[in-house]
């Protein structure tokens, strides 16, 4: 009788220990997942913009860890979750570097475009001003094309002004996009006027 009770107690103790261990695994897994989710949320906008593939991989890993937890497999869940915070932290470092690189590239583009495009506008303006004084348009340029060139020049000036505004307000991405539009439109207008675009550097 005594031996049987002792045996039952030992079994109960093992069950209790096992349950305690499982509970501990579950809590650790939950904590790791929560930490990873919070950290990922904090970098999600930039991560999806600059490193979308890696962002997706980390998000999938979190989803997999949560699925293990939901299935009640605390040990597997912990194995899947324990490295998540470190993965998110590493992703954050990579995202910051990628963002810095992207901004540096945009800044280079802006510096180049902002040095170049006012000269393009100046050259087009000069030609439009001279042609406006002409009693007759040259061969190869009809009135419709000249009118299109003049309205194109107005559009270019408006776009360039908007690009500068974007840059001055800190939105370099929009500034570069608008500057590229100026360059594209300027090239088109120069073509209408029979002007040759500047040779590529």
């Amino acid at each position: 009788m005594y031996a049987k009770s002792l045996y039952s107690l030992v079994i109960l103790a093992f069950v209790a220990l096992f349950a305690s261990a499982c509970s501990h695994y579950k809590e650790q897994a939950q904590a790791a997942i929560a930490q990873a989710e919070t950290a990922l949320e904090a970098i999600s906008v930039d991560a999806q913009k600059y490193l979308p593939q890696k962002y997706q991989e980390v998000e999938d890993a979190i989803t997999a860890a949560k699925a293990s937890l939901d299935k009640g497999d605390a040990k597997d869940a912990l194995a899947a979750a324990k490295d998540l915070p470190a993965q998110v932290a590493a992703l954050g470092t990579e995202v910051a570097a990628a963002k810095q690189q992207a901004i540096a590239t945009l800044t280079d583009s802006w510096n180049s475009l902002s040095a170049d495009l006012p000269k393009m506008v100046e050259a087009i303006q000069s030609r439009v001003d001279t042609l406006s004084k002409s009693k007759k348009l040259p061969k190869g340029l009809d009135q419709a094309s000249f009118d299109a060139a003049k309205s194109g020049l107005d559009e270019i000036k408006g776009l360039w002004s908007a690009a500068e505004q974007s840059f001055n307000s800190g939105n370099i991405e929009d500034a570069v996009a608008k500057a590229n539009a100026v360059q594209q439109k300027g090239t088109e207008v120069m073509g209408l006027l029979g002007m040759k675009s500047a040779p590529a550097a």
Binding site: K119, R127, S134, K135, K136, P138, G194, K196, A198
Partner: protein, 68 residues
């Protein structure tokens, strides 16, 4: 009518400045007529090239002229 990009040593830093290389038989009036449709606008070309032209009636074959 042949427009050229910026030649080396042109004295301007605008890469969009248009140039024309003078050919035999050219006059500023003829060039103005070709580019602007109006020979009377030769003065525009002359003024843009005062650094290399002293007289609008004297241009030389091979000269690179700015076409404003």
């Amino acid at each position: 009518m042949e427009e050229k990009g910026q030649p080396p040593g042109s004295g301007t830093d605008n890469p969009y400045t248009q140039y024309y290389v003078v050919k035999k038989g050219d006059t500023l009036s003829k060039i103005a007529k070709d580019y602007y449709g109006d020979a009377q606008l030769y003065a525009q070309i002359f003024e843009a090239n005062r650094d290399v032209l002293k007289d609008p009636n004297k241009i030389q074959v091979g000269q690179k002229l700015r076409i404003p």
